[in-house]
């Protein structure tokens, strides 16, 4: 019925998208694992990564793939500043809370705060850059690579995919091997004990925030080159990212990576059989299945 090559092409595309979902989802799951915060503004850092890249490309006349990492660092910095200004006092309050109702209300407070931040940032982008989708051109988008089997993808997509993969692996190794990485994992598991053993938890929060948002911003910068930029692009991504986090298990890094690719793959396949309008639903169907059968995530919880 459907041509073999169409299916494979969609799957490959889906996997490439999956890399992006994983990159954004990983940051989200880290923030949840370490700070116990459901950051609804995460998508906005992805969006800002895209727009900052555009700003740099425009003023310096360079290529998004070169400016992307730079702008990502910028966004990361902004997020750390925001973290300090807005959230830092609240982490302490969240830790000291007693009773499940009080915890629920504090959590709600956090979520609402990030929602407010999200609204603010989206409108900021709207005001500064306007509502019309912007196309950012890159030398890499025009270079088409032909793969065996008669598939062709732009170099941009391929580079993005591999960069995403590399970053994820690098992050995994960072957390596993380095001292800071271990400190982050320790804080995620038991913040009180971590603090007692000399870890500066506030610094860890900043570092976690920085890594998470830089990753998301990087993804945004590259995706902006491939697709287009619009102020609400973060909102579309963040919902997907939350699904990734839930399917992978909240706080579980490897889980999110796996989940990101799984969802990308399933969407690719689903798009072929169900049509593009219902592609969105695929992610939710997977989420529902996971919540029903393995509520802690496909791989279970983790730091």
């Amino acid at each position: 019925m459907f041509s073999y090559s169409l299916i494979v092409e969609q799957i490959l595309l889906g996997l490439m998208n999956g890399g992006i979902y994983a990159a954004v989802g990983v940051g989200l799951t880290m923030i949840f694992g370490v700070m116990k915060l459901s950051n609804f503004a995460h998508g906005e850092f992805y969006m800002l990564g895209a727009y900052f890249t555009f700003a740099l490309v425009n003023s310096l006349g360079s290529d998004p793939f070169l400016m992307g990492p730079l702008s990502a660092l910028g966004v990361g910095l902004v997020s750390v500043i925001l973290n300090k200004l807005v959230f830092s006092s609240l982490y302490k309050e969240l830790r000291e809370v007693k009773g499940s109702a009080a915890f629920f209300f504090q959590d709600l407070r956090f979520i609402m705060l990030t929602i407010g931040l999200s609204i603010l940032l989206v409108d900021l982008a709207l005001v500064v850059w306007g509502p019309i989708p912007i196309n950012m051109s890159s030398a890499l988008t025009s270079i088409i690579i032909k793969l065996p089997g008669d598939f062709s993808f732009s170099l941009a997509r391929i580079v993005t995919f591999f960069l995403a993969l590399t970053s994820l692996i690098a992050l995994y190794l960072f957390l596993k091997i380095t001292k800071t990485g271990k400190a982050i994992r320790a804080t995620a598991q038991n913040p009180a004990a971590a603090a007692l053993s000399g870890i500066n938890t506030n610094r860890i929060y900043d570092i976690t925030m920085f890594i998470s948002t830089t990753l998301a911003a990087l993804a945004g910068g590259f995706l902006g080159a491939i697709y287009s930029l619009y102020p609400t692009m973060g909102l579309d991504v963040v919902v997907k990212a939350f699904v990734v986090v839930i399917v992978g298990g909240m706080g579980n890094l490897v889980g999110s990576i796996f989940a990101g690719f799984l969802i990308g793959f399933a969407e690719g396949l689903g798009g072929v059989y169900f049509g593009t309008e219902y592609r969105q639903v695929v992610a939710f169907v997977i989420m529902i299945l996971v919540l029903w059968f393995r509520p802690k995530g496909i791989l279970g919880r983790g730091g």
Binding site: K98, G99, A101, A102
Partner: protein, 229 residues
């Protein structure tokens, strides 16, 4: 938990002791339906309650309290007890509000918290919170009251108050099963005691018998410290 069985005599005060991690609270959780056992059955008065939900077990007459107290913090002391009465006596029909409040006040009087009726339970110190939890449990008119470390974290005065309350509970014909670390409490209150270690029963008998038991002493102090007498 490994092959633990207990027989509790009605109207007794039955104690469960054992070092940390021995499985005492786990046992509580299994009996009251918060955990599911992998094998075995729990019989209450001949009725199989294995696998039932905690609220069903509570309705059948077993109510528990918590090692770390769980009052309904946002509610007053009176309301904490009232809610339990509503659940017991019926939400739609059943008691009139007036009678329900009377009953609640009676129970508060019983545990000595009448003077704190309208205080938010959040404001209570540990000892009073523990008594409130017992009051709330009593409001469900249980046949068995299971207390998880009622004396935990209390000052000496508070401990004496709790002991008094538990004695009064037994007098009112309610069977009590309690987990306790504090030997003074165990000795002073319990009719029979069972000792657990690593999820298995290692001794059973009167408090005096169990306290002298070789295995029990080893469990608490460690093999090295056991000296043959």
């Amino acid at each position: 938990m490994n092959d633990v069985s207990l027989n509790v005599k009605e109207h007794d005060i039955f104690g469960i002791i054992g070092p940390n991690g021995a499985g005492k609270t786990t046992l509580f959780n299994i009996i009251t339906g918060f955990y599911k056992p992998d094998s075995g059955r729990i019989l209450f008065n001949g009725v199989d309650i294995t696998g039932k939900k905690p609220n069903e077990i509570a309705k059948l007459g077993i109510t528990r309290t918590w090692q770390i107290v769980k009052p309904f913090l946002g509610m007053t002391v009176l309301d904490n007890v009232l809610v339990a009465i509503y659940v017991k006596k019926g939400i739609l029909r059943g008691l009139s509000e007036h009678t329900a409040i009377e009953k609640a006040e009676e129970i508060l009087e019983f545990v000595g918290l009448s003077h704190r009726k309208h205080v938010l339970s959040e404001a209570l110190p540990q000892g009073e919170r523990k008594r409130l939890e017992i009051a709330r449990a009593l409001a469900t008119e249980p046949r068995v009251l299971m207390l998880d470390e009622p004396a935990g974290g209390l000052t000496n005065i508070e401990m004496d108050e709790i002991i008094e309350v538990v004695k009064k509970v037994r007098e009112s014909k309610v069977t009590v099963v309690l987990i306790e670390h504090n030997m003074k409490v165990v000795m002073g209150l319990c009719d029979r005691v069972i000792a657990l270690n690593y999820g298995k029963k290692i001794a059973e008998g009167t408090p005096e018998e169990v306290a002298k038991n070789e295995e029990v002493i080893k469990a608490y102090l460690g093999e090295r410290f056991y000296v043959e007498s």
